[in-house]
């Protein structure tokens, strides 16, 4: 049985990775299982300088989902490269660094720093955090700005470049096409949906940031639909599917819709070993259906 897949030239031992922002820098979960079991670890969004994030409260649970407004808190690329990466590298898995900037120049600087770090296997460009201000959101929602940031980052790195798309757009296929035309090797989709919740007793928002990113099983049908749409128009572009994947069944839906790999996000919070259950469940599905190679069912949904 073959679970190995290739994303933008990067070989993964299996198609299961962790979604950025839900798995810390990987090491937080090292006490729960052997990280070498994973196809890849995608780390928390990094920036050139450390960022303290948004004030609390930052979390609110909704029906079958959660809102977060962490605000891209991170230790900064230099501290990640110095303190986390050498430990993370000891695991036999791929390390994908999710990163962002507040300006195009910062995106480029971050990409160059990570490009030069030993042990980073690929970059995931974060243009889609819903907790930044409206001007920043343009990176992920305005096709002209998206094209510029992807093209500039492309020039700054020779590593495989994955662009993580925002679902908070009218037509995600347009954004996907723009990112690929500007130099993206692969696409991750989707990031969280911008959401909101109000405490009707205090008549105030539940999150200090007012709005936050909705994740979890509640968003899975939306994510699946978007991934399928993008796969239809860009069948040769490697897609990493994410958004509410809790079980192997969810992951297989994404693969059938066209994902060559999947990322488990909020499920890590619910169960630190969720990724292992997903990997095991994919293997069981393959043997039940006599599938010799996981690649054989990518995009295999019959519509």
């Amino acid at each position: 049985m073959n679970l190995e897949v290739s994303v933008a030239g990067l070989r993964l031992k299996n198609p299961v990775m962790t979604a950025s922002g839900t798995f810390g820098y990987g090491l937080e979960y090292a006490g729960f299982f052997d990280l070498s079991r994973l196809g890849a670890v995608v780390v928390k969004g990094l920036s050139v300088n450390p960022s303290k994030g948004n004030p609390p409260p930052r979390i609110w649970e909704t029906s079958c989902g959660m809102l977060n407004s962490i605000g891209l808190q991170n230790i900064g690329i230099p501290a990640f490269v110095r303190d986390k990466l050498p430990v993370l590298r000891q695991y036999d898995t791929r390390i994908i660094a999710n990163f962002f900037g507040n300006t195009i120049a910062e995106f480029v600087e971050g990409a160059a720093m990570l490009n030069d770090a030993t042990g980073v296997d690929a970059l995931e460009l974060n243009v889609s955090c819903p907790n930044k201000d409206a001007a920043w959101s343009a990176f992920g929602t305005n096709p002209v700005v998206l094209a510029e940031v992807v093209a500039r980052v492309r020039q700054a790195t020779s590593l495989p470049l994955i662009v993580k798309l925002s679902p908070n757009v009218t037509d995600i296929t347009e954004m996907a096409r723009v990112a690929v035309d500007a130099g993206a090797d692969a696409l991750s989709l989707i990031n969280t949906l911008t959401g909101m919740a109000i405490d009707i007793e205090s008549i105030r928002p539940r999150l200090s940031n007012i709005v936050g990113g909705l994740s979890g099983p509640a968003i899975k049908p939306v994510a699946l639909r978007m991934l399928w749409q993008v796969h239809k128009v860009l069948p040769s572009v490697p897609l990493i599917g994410m958004g509410g994947i809790m079980t192997a069944d969810d992951a297989i839906e994404f693969i059938l819709a066209g994902a060559v790999a999947v990322a488990v996000g909020t499920a890590n919070f619910v169960n630190p070993q969720a990724t292992l259950h997903v990997i095991g469940g994919i293997e069981q599905y393959m043997s039940r259906h006599n599938i010799a190679d996981i690649n054989d069912i990518v995009g295999g949904v019959i519509c």
Binding site: G21, F32, P55, I59, C64
Partner: protein, 275 residues
Amino acid sequence: MIRQFSAEVTSNVRLSDGVFMLVLSPMSEVLRPCAGQFYMVGQGCGIPGKKPLFDPLLKRPFSCMDYNDGLLHFMIKLRGRFTAILGNCTPGTVLELIGPIGNAFPAVGAGERLIVVAGGIGIASVAMLLRDYPEATLFYGVRSANDLFVDQLPPVARLHVTSDDGSAGDKGNVLEHLRQYIASIVETTEGGVIKVYACGPYAMTEQLCRMFASKGGDLCKVNGWTVEAFVSVEERMACGVAACLGCTVSTVNGYRLVCKDGPVFSVNDLIPVAT
């Protein structure tokens, strides 16, 4: 040892209209919790052969009230949908836990006096201290006699109960009685160190900071006595393992995580936010 485990409900007793005692038997070897540590408790979702439940989705943090004969005791107040589900769990139900989590209360040095302060259900976070330090004094404030659960505690050397309505112990605010008690100690005995370990509603944490913080606290140094106060705080969290970065509190050192840097903080570090 892995900190994720399944546990079976061995008993679940309603102590009052709004509070229940959930006793769990871990189904694998677990670490011994220290006073002040907590667990993320969730509906079983990683159990082979059982269909996972995703609503409510996240685990919730609960302080360990006691660890005895291999059983974990949680005293829980009914607050919302999740606590209602836990309150209705029958013996044999399997739950999934992560823990023990957090930094625990610091050790009390020889010759130091320990005063434990609980406000309402906050007693669940400090009760284990009473087992570790049988000589401790407990100040236990409740709204009314219905919220008082002294019979669930280990033996207490000196107990001061206060209630808002006067239906149990002295009427009034527990911290006002604590203030008088400390005043009487520092006036009548030779100096030393008093440790105040507390857990209660947010307003109580705020008040403790005002009383005992080394900057601006009026009771932190009196008459040769030093009072060092530590408070267990809570915040919404998704993971309990410092990955989600959801459970931040404001401290003099910037944002800190309740699950990793806390839940116990010195009043010198906390920056209470006006509510």
